[in-house]
Symmetry: C2
Subunit: 112 residues, 2 copies
């Protein structure tokens, strides 16, 4: 099992900002999963991979795909206190779910 977190590289976020957005997305999608899935993923060491998107539209297309596959997922919109405009979609997490199911959505993407 794994969780893929897709973050927008085009926003030019600093490393700490990026990490905070990825952590938001990760936790939100985790909470979108059922208890059995959460527990199984944690038992395996909560594998996470951080991938790269280059636009808001790409992020939303991937989110739609995750939704249609009925996978736990969440899009983060930034509150805009610091580096980004308020409401900017910055990251999407897909899973935890089986590797193959996550790859069906994010398998074409590069590592961030």
């Amino acid at each position: 099992m794994k969780q893929a977190i897709v973050a927008r590289k085009d926003l030019g976020m600093g490393a700490g900002k990026l990490a905070a957005q990825v952590a938001h997305a990760s936790l939100m999608a985790y909470e979108d999963a059922d208890a059995k899935t959460r527990s199984a993923w944690k038992g395996e060491g909560q594998k996470k991979v951080v991938l790269r998107a280059d636009s808001e539209s790409e992020l939303f297309e991937l989110a739609e795909k995750a939704k249609s596959e009925r996978l736990p997922h969440a899009v983060v919109r930034d509150a805009g206190h610091t580096q980004l405009d308020p409401g900017t979609a910055s990251a999407l997490a897909v899973g935890p779910a089986k590797d193959r199911a996550v790859d069906a959505v994010t398998g074409e993407l590069s590592l961030y």
Copy 2:
């Protein structure tokens, strides 16, 4: 309320690797908090801040302080599949907790 995630800059992790370690730490400390605290923090938008440490000993000293203050916390040790040696302590999350309580542990640190 907030959660502070302290990551080691001296390890020279890439941005994606850093983000994954921060997300691990965040989720583990979240699970170390009680249900009321988790719920309150999420209700406020799950504020997270990513801070900088420069050694393993610094990370462990902060973890001890969090423990003595009875704050939810977690240290991440890397599985060592990619950039780091197995067992390397890479990040510490403190909170969610009240801002002042988190600042008592991590208030002297710089943003990552």
